[in-house]
Symmetry: C2
Subunit: 418 residues, 2 copies
């Protein structure tokens, strides 16, 4: 028995007090602070909480689009600064939740429905894992073209609905075991505390595997736009599953067919049947972040091509880069450690001779899935040709096509998907 | 030949343009922007750059001390938020450096002295690595007692001069190879751009190994208090080597015996001689961050004891926790991945029975160095007993003694080093 298992068993043995916390027994949080000191923040004290330099102006907002996307063109390494983590949906204000009042209810097909305060959750065995969260709509380089006739210009616009953080929280599987999930149960539905109360069905098998109930992000509490004080992190699954401002989980024996999942997220899969209600995993996907659309190379000579790769299927095994429009490919270097369902930074040395060049990357994950071209993507996912993808006004999700960037002789870089 | 070596060779082959950039040939930075768009930040737009919740008030300042220390009592995972990374020295304002004007000069015993702009550095092959930076004075739980008669109360005060980030930059070894280091050279001295121009000698052997010239921290530019726009990261070495606002590196055939290194940093090592001018590596060290001094357990029952371990000697191999004042020890679980010269999060399940308990951790690194008790530390480092350490007004650095926290029956936690 390893340390982890020992810890788990100990917790369960000592968990009687928690199991006693049935629904309705909401304890007063006052007087129970697991007391960090909470000194007054004096804004005049720059050392209390250090801001970035006034010369650093990277922001989530894309100047030509109201969506709140991660500025990947400025990214380095694999951690996304929490302040720059994309936010979807963009049309709501994050709720202003007092963590001392917040509760998580787990009920439905369970023997012991439970309510947890934030303090109670933080007493439990925790884990930290580096994972990406990505919206199913990320990678759609064509959407802007459909709206206003031109391709999305920057990598923030094409791929900025993904981000990667070190998430800390408790395993949902542990909470579910405490509640005693009934044996007929096969699904759950998770719900947020915002006024609209977005919710999403998740298979119990995934919930019992690696789903996190997260209160920490990159070493501090989850930011408001990412779900403060509590969110789900569902590694590798479409972003919509990662319910923010998490307040309720109901265990079921079927998916709950929420509005979100019946209206926006079904996908055409001619290889599997006419359509598919649930398509969970993202990727494999990669994109070059430098040089990328809207940037400009000042002169010929040496550059390091760099970008990110990720897959909902597991770890990235390989990233290849082409500097000649896909005729030849060479392996890029991957930044260690390469982690499951996490952004993986790749780097590739390049001498630009001053001629036109088309740069692109493709990745392979550790279940041997390989990133497709746009034409291949159309055939796999929609049973359509790429012409359809270019012109349809239907929402197309899960686009993970190879993204080419064209470098012109003047050093300017533009989207060359079409 | 692996990808990395291929990349390196390609770069060197293509590096002629860079090698031509000798001292004096400072090129105008204007018109050479490797152009990320720099839209106006509108402060009224909360989505541009997301702040933390108003309920999150963790700050670097310790209420009873002007030093700017990391609030480890609130930490989760291994990444320290950049805004909460400790700052030493605390008595200066970070310089307000325009990155377009900033330059790094490498000169001294080299064939081709070079000046790099920030843009030129960012074109070069880069790496990202997760490393801690720790002040040599960190871990001194006794310092406050000497000043005002009571032990430092919180882990922020005792151990808050350490932090861990994903650093991105170029390897110093690559820059040094470009300059052509002469074969008699054995040391270098690095210097910052702040008015005081702190500098520190570093052995060439270390510089050619794993030292980073870093411009990125946790996915964005290094924060001003950590050296924006450029700093050294010298993995595992005392913090003072990690020169901030880096502007100059001079290659030498002996240490330069800077003020800092001759006045503050020599250490007594009776096992090696009477004293030692240079003592580079930190740790092995560990500390429990929860429960820690100043916190309070609301009731008996299950808690997860958690903390951080790190070593300048390499990776953490093992952390043990004692809940009975050191009579018995059990292995804690280590958060994966465990990285060289990086904070390592450990976790240990504990049922508090309501009686007094003394909690402490000790770590072992992968060169089999083990964290000492205070008494052992005194013997190893000062040739003194712990009574000397308790009373001396001399500065004692590198204290990596085991840190005990005592839990009283009322749940309060206090420093139990003495």
């Amino acid at each position: 028995m390893n340390t982890k298992e020992r810890g788990r068993r100990r917790f369960l043995k000592g968990g009687a007090a928690l199991a006693g916390l049935a629904v309705g027994e909401i304890r007063s949080a006052s007087g129970q602070a697991i007391g960090s000191e909470r000194p007054e923040v004096r804004p005049e004290d720059f050392r209390a909480y250090g801001e970035r330099s006034r010369f650093v102006t990277s922001v989530r907002r894309d100047p030509r689009n109201p969506n709140s996307r991660t500025p990947l063109q400025d990214s380095v390494g694999i951690i996304t600064p929490s302040a720059l983590h994309f936010m979807v949906p963009t049309w709501i204000d994050p709720p202003d939740i007092d963590p001392w009042q917040h509760r998580l209810l787990i009920h439905g097909m369970v023997d012991r429905p439970l309510i947890f305060s934030m303090e109670e959750l933080k007493r439990l065995p925790s884990v930290s894992r580096i994972h990406f969260v990505e919206c199913a709509g990320s990678g759609d380089s064509l959407e802007e073209r459909k709206k206003n006739g031109m391709l999305a210009e920057t990598v923030q616009r094409t791929h900025g609905l993904t981000a990667c953080s070190e998430w800390t929280g408790v395993l949902l599987s542990m909470l579910l075991r405490e509640t005693g999930v009934q044996k007929e149960a096969t699904w759950l539905v998770a719900e947020g505390a915002e006024p609209r109360k977005r919710s999403k069905s998740i298979p119990l098998e995934k919930a019992m595997d690696d789903v996190l109930v997260a209160y920490g992000q990159n070493g501090e509490p989850v930011r408001p736009e990412q779900g403060y004080p509590l969110r789900l992190v569902v590694p590798g699954f479409e972003g919509v599953h990662n319910i923010k401002w998490l307040r309720r989980i109901k265990v079921l024996d079927q998916p709950s067919m929420e509005k979100e999942e019946t209206s926006h997220y079904p996908t055409q899969r001619p290889d599997l049947g006419k359509a598919r209600w649930f398509q969970f995993e993202m990727g494999p996907k990669s994109v070059i972040t430098f040089p990328s659309g809207g940037q400009r190379l000042p002169s010929r000579g040496f550059y390091e091509i760099t970008g990110l790769a990720w897959s909902g299927g597991g770890a990235i095994q390989r990233v290849e880069v082409s500097t000649d429009g896909g005729r030849t490919w060479k392996d890029a270097e991957l930044q260690e450690p390469v982690l499951r369902m996490a952004h993986t930074r790749f780097r590739f040395p390049w001498n630009w001779d001053g001629d036109e060049a088309v740069l692109q990357s493709r990745c392979t994950d550790d279940v041997e899935a390989i990133q497709p071209t746009l034409a291949e993507f159309g055939r796999i996912w929609g049973g359509v040709d790429s012409e359809y993808l270019k012109t349809t006004r239907n929402k197309v999700n899960h686009i993970n096509a190879i993204q080419p960037w064209k470098v012109s002789r003047d050093g300017s870089v533009r989207n060359a998907l079409l």
